[in-house]
Structures are given as C-alpha cells and as structure tokens.
Symmetry: C2
Subunit: 208 residues, 2 copies
C-alpha cells in the first residue's frame, strides 16, 4: 500500500493521524499541491477528481475520499477501533465526522477565496474556479456557527461522538488547525473545545 499525500493539507493530515493511531506504517508519496502536481496527467489517471489523499491498495486499485480510505483501513486493522464499536456508536461517529467535514468546508471557503495562491482554484478539482470575494465573509460566518455547535456537543461529551475517541475527533482536529490558517483560533473563546483540543493534540499520533 501507498498513500498519496501532501503534508500541509488537512485531508491527508487526518488520514495520516488515523494511520498513526492504528500503529500502521504506510509509505507516503508526495504530491506537491503548491506546485499543482495534483493536476498532472499522471495523477489524474490515479484520481480524476485531482484531490488528496489517495490510497493505493496492494491489488493496485485506488481509493480517494478520506472516509472511504479510513473504512478500508479499519476493516483491515480493526483495533484500536476508530469508527465506532456498537451499531449506535458507529452511527454517531459517521454523523459527527460528516458534521466536522462541514466545518472544514467552511474554513476552506474562507481560505480559497481570500488567498492569492488559490486564484483560479477556489475549489479543489481539475477545472478552474474563480474566487468570489463575498464567500470570505460567508465562510467566516459558517466557521463560527460550526464551532458554536461543536462547543455545545463537547460541553456534554468527552469526545465529539460521545465517550470514545474516534475518527470524528481526528477530522475535528484537522478542521480546528485548518481554521487557524484563517485566524479562527476557535478554542480561545470556547472552553469545552479548548479542553478537548488540549487533550487530542497531546496524543502521539497528532504529530503525524
């Protein structure tokens, strides 16, 4: 297996943390997003959507979309469990992971519409998409609403999906860091998020 990766991007990061939590070692293949290598004909053979990460499996097939990669790895290596154990817990993990991804989308809306580096690439993917300045403010509003909802959940639960650390926490960790690229620092004004963030970033796998 190999993981097509770029170290600074939030989606590859959450899959690397997942892999580290499992205690796995999977070779990384760097696809340099700063040099737009994801748009090369070679990489678009691997993933026509031109996104990272992508897992190449031992039978030579390719899996894109972080959640799909993590399901595949959880199925191969069930312990430590990161996608929920009981039926009810599994549903909560997938639900909260989805919600955490919406926060990542909101932060991306700010970054991709404000940063000169994303001119003409305001959405991931192979086709040119121009920046829309009005999306910067909309994205900031969404980011703040997102963290307000998360704060309510973390006030009443040790982890995002309930009692146990899961992939939903990994996605939220990547989202929280990514939102800091646009100066959100959501935990500074949200004590439950701060308590959670201090704990999850102290895990060894958070360095992945």
């Amino acid at each position: 297996m190999r993981l097509f990766d770029y170290n600074r991007a939030p989606n590859p990061r959450r899959v690397r943390i997942f892999i580290a939590e499992k205690g796995l070692k999977i070779p990384l293949v760097k696809v340099d997003l700063m040099r737009m290598q994801q748009l090369s004909p070679e990489f678009r053979q691997i993933n026509p959507g031109a996104t990272l990460p992508v897992l190449e499996t031992d039978d030579g097939s390719y899996i894109s979309e972080s959640l799909a990669i993590c399901h595949y790895l959880e199925d191969l290596h069930p312990e430590p469990n990161l996608l929920g154990s009981s039926r009810a817990e599994k549903a909560q993990v997938i639900m909260w992971n989805n919600i955490a991804e919406q926060g990542m989308d909101a932060a991306a809306e700010v970054l991709r519409n404000i940063s000169p580096g994303f001119r003409g690439h305001a959405l991931p993917g192979p086709a040119p998409i121009e920046q829309i300045p009005a999306l910067v403010e909309r994205g900031q509003t969404r980011v703040n609403q997102f963290f307000d909802r998360i704060e309510q959940q973390l006030k009443n639960n040790a982890y995002l999906a309930g009692e146990n650390y899961s992939f939903a926490d990994i996605t939220l960790m990547a989202t929280t860091e990514f939102a800091d690229w646009v100066e959100t620092h959501a935990y500074k004004t949200r004590p439950a998020l701060q308590r959670w963030y201090t704990e999850v970033t102290a895990r060894p796998a958070a360095n992945a």
Copy 2:
C-alpha cells in the same frame, strides 16, 4: 423507529429509497421545509443542525446525516446489501457516494442562490445566509463537471461503484433528479448516464 422526512427534498428521498430497497417500513414524520418547520425550537432539539432526514431509533436517540442513518440501517438489516460486501467494494461505495454528494452540493448551490424561496437561506441550517448571485454560474459549472466525471465512470461500470447496485447509485439518482430542478437534464447528452438512469429509476424502490 421514525424518520423525520420531507417528501420533496433530495436527502430524505435517498434515505427513503434505501429503506424501500431493504423492504423496511419505517413511519415518516413530516417536517415541512416549505414552512420552515426545520427551524422550530422543537425540531432543533432533535437536530441542532436543522437538516433532514433524522432517524429516531428505538432507544430514543437521533441520527442525522443520511450516510450515518444508512450505516445504522445496514447494520440492523444487512440484506440486501447496499453499502458493499467485500472490503474493496465497501470502500468504493463510500468513495462514490461521497463524490455523488458533491454533485448534490453543486446543484444546491445553483438552486439556493437563484430561487426566491431560498432568500436568506442559501445554505441549510439555522442561521441566515444571503444568496450570492455569482454562485449560480459557479454551481452550474460544477454540476456539468460532476456529470462529465460520472459519465466516464458509468461508461466502464454497470453501477456507480462497480458491478453492484449500491447506496452510491441511490445518492446519484437523488442528485440527478435534484439537478433537474435547475434544468440540468444531464442524461440527455450523456449516454452512459441515460442507460444507468433508465435502469435505476425502473426499480420499484425508486418510487419511495
């Protein structure tokens, strides 16, 4: 169990089709999106995100996010299998379901920024979000790019995730219909999509 539902919305629709394919009968509770009932304090106790569908389970907990609901139901009623059987197939189903959801997001971008009914509600959720006219054209571009990618996949595969009908097809069916609300009619110019669409809409569950 009960499903909080609205008959015209695309996400409740794909969960209803999933339930029908399983041969299950789950009582529906109508939340009238046209009357903004999802924003009522009662419903926001059930789902703070103010989205549909939501599954109330027999132990009285609530699951939002369509994928989480379908995982829960697949776990309770594994046959007929709709989320993949082998490890490789499961990963492809989740991957293509995610991609199909991106098409739904693109169609929503057009509809919610062009239709007077969505003024002040250009994104789902409890907080006001104003329409941005430039998103209409961006959304249309994304919708067309999405269906071009789908056409390539369906040229080489009977179903979206490979050889077997799955939840990814259900999401794509709901996305294809939803895109027709903004006059996409993607299948008219894409023969593989047309072949697939004719087949999947002929299934009895497509009436759900």
